[in-house]
């Protein structure tokens, strides 16, 4: 059989593609899927040939017209979520990956004005495709991880060429700018887990250092340089990223004023970004026993933190000696937060931390921490470092890619509210592989239940050790509630979290039918319990668990989700807002219908999400309150209640209105 030239093959496959496209266009909407599969199959082969992506790009408008995206998740590009889209490439089925690539070609064509789209402007398309590219930046530079390469299989090459092509259409500069903004937006929430953020910063650094990246450099990347320097060269002494060994040697030759400047530089970089450079631990360990007086500055402490440091010197120094290594650099930020919060003045905390330092881990816990490794610090150290992070950043806890929002929320609550209890639970989980809680007087041991659960992915070491136990107990409590007529959260949450969770329970829906139930009363009660203008100007005293009906950017119901209400207060513009903690890793979400969760710029503290009171109420479906504190006369502004009602019934509660 004669070998054909790639040009001849491309010509032939292009003919096949055009034919398949015609057949797709003819098919009625209900019969398109068969034809779509064929188009995708041919498209894949076209895209593997030189010039193939251009061929598909030239036809993308016609392919869309023919119905390629009809009835799929890509049918409405204006509703696409960049993060979801970016993820599809890594985790989707073969078909989904191809559709995603084609959808991105479509976005690029709309952005470049080559294709006019009825529901997407060129500006919207540009923003969307830039965000997607920013999230998959590594792919543009052909930096697939081994896992991604395996998962993509024969599609790996197609996907990488595709990204190169799209990035050339859009321009690297725009993508970088977007990515930098995105990183700052995430950092503004001060997450405990920052590995992926550091990965993204590395991508940016790689991109900027490519000689042929076609970038002008300069002002627009100032934000990028700050990020890169925070990780790779935060101070004078290491600004050109010389390597830890060289830096260590340099420190030996520095005098006290130079070292003070280094300390100030590290502190500033860390508090600016929430990121800790691996040079920082080298520096801090160098100071120990030589220049202990510079440690306060190296941690960037205020007078509160410095005072706590001075009072608990031995403990803090010991924590540094034990937990602070280049592999656990981020814990320095946690330690600083811990000192600033003043929680060491809580009498049980210091002894509890001493116990933790000496704690022997059981094999199960070691396994949950990824096992012993010769090349890295011990599991015990990882755990201790993570404890400092969680205590220092209670609102930085995230659930990772796990359906364990209740456990993540509980960790956050205990960290901010009851840190010595949290340390008790950690000791039980890490040493004894058994956590005990009581439900209505009955003891529940997690030890017998926990082994059946799958390991967690993408979480901090503290969560990795304790969340399986918490999850097991939470579910065991759920089983004890089977058969009760109402929502089990009513009984579980006060028992699970602590005495401070209100024993009054309000729920917006009837559990059996899922229909709204006395919804207006529910809303009025929420105003009367939580809104300072209607509850006698009382602040939220302890963070309270609450249940949210999560909606997507098209305001469609996605599921129930656990959050906690942190506080209710006026924002800088004078509007009343609910500030809450969302254990989801990124709280900045668009819940549709103008309900956009803010994470910075509306008076949020690090890690808080916020919404105007009415907007928040419109997604709320469970809250807790103290019945003794409900005002005698429940009052709520009728026009706001009807606004909330409107927001709810046009989103998650659309199909939940009781038939009278």
């Amino acid at each position: 059989m004669p070998a054909e030239s790639p040009e001849a093959r491309l010509k032939q496959l292009t003919d096949h593609l055009d034919r398949a496209q015609d057949r797709l266009a003819q098919a009625r909407p209900f019969a398109k899927s068969t034809q779509t599969v064929r188009v995708l199959e041919i498209t894949r082969r076209v895209m593997t040939l030189p010039g193939g992506i251009e061929v598909v790009y030239a036809r993308i408008g016609d392919l869309e017209q023919a119905g390629l995206f009809a009835a799929s998740d890509w049918a409405h590009p204006d509703k696409l979520q960049p993060a979801m889209a970016a993820n599809t490439i890594r985790t989707g089925s073969k078909e989904a990956i191809l559709l995603e690539c084609l959808s991105e070609l479509r976005l690029a064509a709309v952005a470049r004005g080559r294709h006019h789209h009825p529901s997407l402007t060129a500006e919207q398309a540009t923003r969307l495709i830039t965000q997607i590219l920013a999230l998959n930046l590594r792919l543009i530079f052909r930096q697939l991880t081994e896992a991604e390469r395996l998962a993509l299989g024969p599609l790996a090459e197609v996907v990488q060429s595709h990204y190169e092509f799209v990035a050339r259409q859009i321009g690297f500069g725009d993508i970088l700018e977007q990515l930098v903004d995105e990183i700052w937006r995430i950092l503004a929430q001060r997450p405990v887990q920052v590995d992926h953020v550091k990965d993204m910063i590395t991508s940016v650094a790689v991109c900027l250092s490519q000689p042929d990246n076609g970038l002008e450099g300069g002002a627009q990347f100032r934000g990028a340089e700050r990020l890169i320097s925070a990780v790779y060269g935060p101070t004078r002494g290491c600004q050109e990223d010389p390597g830890l060994q060289v830096y260590q040697e340099r420190l030996e030759t520095m005098d006290q004023p130079t070292l003070r400047n280094e300390a100030l530089g590290f502190g500033r970089a860390m508090h600016d970004t929430g990121l800790v450079s691996p040079y920082h631990p080298v520096f801090l360990r160098f100071l120990r026993n030589r220049y202990d007086e510079l440690i306060s500055e190296a941690l960037g402490l205020s007078s509160t933190g410095s005072d706590a440091l001075a009072c608990y010197r031995d403990l803090v120094f010991r924590l540094i000696d034990e937990a602070v290594w280049p592999e656990t650099a981020q814990t320095i930020y946690g330690l600083a937060g811990l000192l600033e919060r003043g929680i060491l003045y809580n009498p049980p905390l210091a002894p509890a931390l001493w116990r933790q330092i000496n704690l022997q881990l059981c094999p199960a816990a070691i396994q949950r921490l990824g096992g012993e490794s010769l090349n890295s610090v011990a599991p015990r150290v990882h755990l201790l470092a993570a404890i400092l992070n969680v205590l220092g950043q209670p609102l930085g806890v995230g659930q990772g890619n796990n359906p364990t929002c209740q456990a993540a929320r509980a960790l956050s609550m205990w960290s901010s509210n009851d840190p010595d209890y949290l340390l008790q639970l950690v000791a039980w989980a890490a040493r004894d592989n058994d956590v005990v809680m009581h439900f209505e007087g009955q003891a529940i041991h997690s030890g017998e239940l926990v082994s059946a659960l799958p390991p967690l992915t993408d979480v901090d070491p503290l969560s990795a050790v304790i969340v399986p136990h918490l999850d097991a107990i939470y579910h065991a409590m759920g089983r004890l509630c089977v058969g009760r007529p109402e929502d089990p959260h009513r009984w579980i949450n006060p028992e699970f979290h602590g005495w401070w969770v209100g024993h009054g329970f309000a729920i917006a829906v009837d559990v059996a039918s899922g229909q709204l139930q006395a919804y207006e009363d529910f809303l009025r009660l929420f105003y009367a319990c939580y809104h300072p203008l209607y509850n006698g100007n009382n602040p939220v005293i302890h963070p309270q668990p609450a249940g949210i009906a999560v909606t997507d950017s098209a305001a469609r119901f996605m599921g129930w989700h656990a959050i906690s209400i942190q506080r209710v207060a006026l924002d800088p513009s004078g509007a009343m807002r609910v500030y809450f903690f969302n254990p989801n890793n990124d709280s900045g979400q668009d819940w549709g219908g103008e309900v956009r969760v803010s994470t910075a710029g509306c008076g949020e503290r690090f890690g808080e999400a916020s919404l105007p009171f009415a907007a928040f109420a419109s997604r709320l479906y469970i809250f807790y309150y103290d019945p003794r504190e409900v005002p005698a006369q429940v009052q709520a502004p009728p026009e706001e209640v009807s606004e909330v009602l409107q927001l709810a019934t046009t989103s998650w509660a659309r199909d939940r209105q009781p038939t009278a």
């Binding site: 059989m1 398949a20 009625r28 209900f30 019969a31 068969t34 064929r38 041919i42």
Partner: protein
Amino acid sequence: MNQKNPEKGYVALLGWSLGAIDAVDRFDRRYVVVAPEWAEAYAKEHDIPFIPWDFERLNDRSYEIAQMLQDKGVDVAIPLFEETVEWAGAINSVLLDQPRLFGQAMLFRDKALMKRRAQLGGIRVGIFEEAHDKADVVRFLKRVNQTLLKLHGDPNDPIHMKAFDKAGCLGHRVIRTPDDVDNIPDDEFPALLESHLDGWEFAVEAWIHGGKIRFLNISEYVTLGYSVFVPATPELESYRPQITRQIEKLIKTFDIEFGFVHPEYFVTNDGVMYFGEVAYRPPGFNVFELLERSYGFNAYQGLVLAFDPKTTDEEIEAFFPQPVADATGHAGCFGVYPRRRVVSELQIPEETENHPYFEFHELNPPWEQKVTKRTAFGTHWGLVYFYGDDPHRMRDLLKHQEELDFYV
């Protein structure tokens, strides 16, 4: 959007086939789909005219559905699957007021009756017999091989066993030894036994209207149960006049006035044609799709024309192309069966993927690793489609696919 023409017929499609519905929705006839209840929600969602019906077994309610369709003004019912052929017969005997149509449908549904009728009509068939249990099968195997003057120890000529009322290759077994007989489950009886004919097996698709053949296609089987392509090679096409006469005989014998038949034949080495069986519904292996690929006409729309009593001669002549002459190329497909006992992934062989004739495949990744042993001509795991100019290259290409692993 095709405007529906109220002057033309109103058809009922019996059975759920998205390809058929799509084609008819794009055609100028009014239609309604009669199919099992599970399809109702989908039909409703997409505005497909729909009547839910349970085709499990023909019962006294057949008159009820016929009446329902008559009240709607439906002119004729078109069977899409083997299981709906007798329903179409029963319904059409009411709609067209021709009671014999029901009896005709029963002939199509019972392979033994079908063969006897063919034999009565002077059509040449192989040796056949009904089997009610395993003993019947062993006896038939022995008798056939005695007839062939085999000596003790000679390898047997195989016999074929087919379920009476299943479509195509479903329930079709090849039996060579009495041991093979032991593996037959009891629930496959009664069945039809046939002698094996060495020769060239092929199928015909014929659209009939007014008792005349309006389009006749010859589908060449490269290997039965694996692959087929259209139009056939010139060698097989050279039998077209003979084949046409055979089909005319079939039409006469089975008293077919309209509709569509899909018979299978053997040509033995000496050029004698043997009738295998005939179905009164669209063929498997997506032959309709292949016809559209090579001629450009939609075979389902052709089906509607052939069934609709209101179709005019001019209309039907304008619709169908000239056989072979009007084909733009040869379209074929290959049914994939995993060759290994344990498979973990779908991997299109590189030589197939890079072949200029390869168009696309409809194979799914494996959903179980253990491949069940094939006892009968079972269901393939999906089809691979080819298209090209040279019928011989097509034939050899399809044959060669049998030696490749698509699942590894």
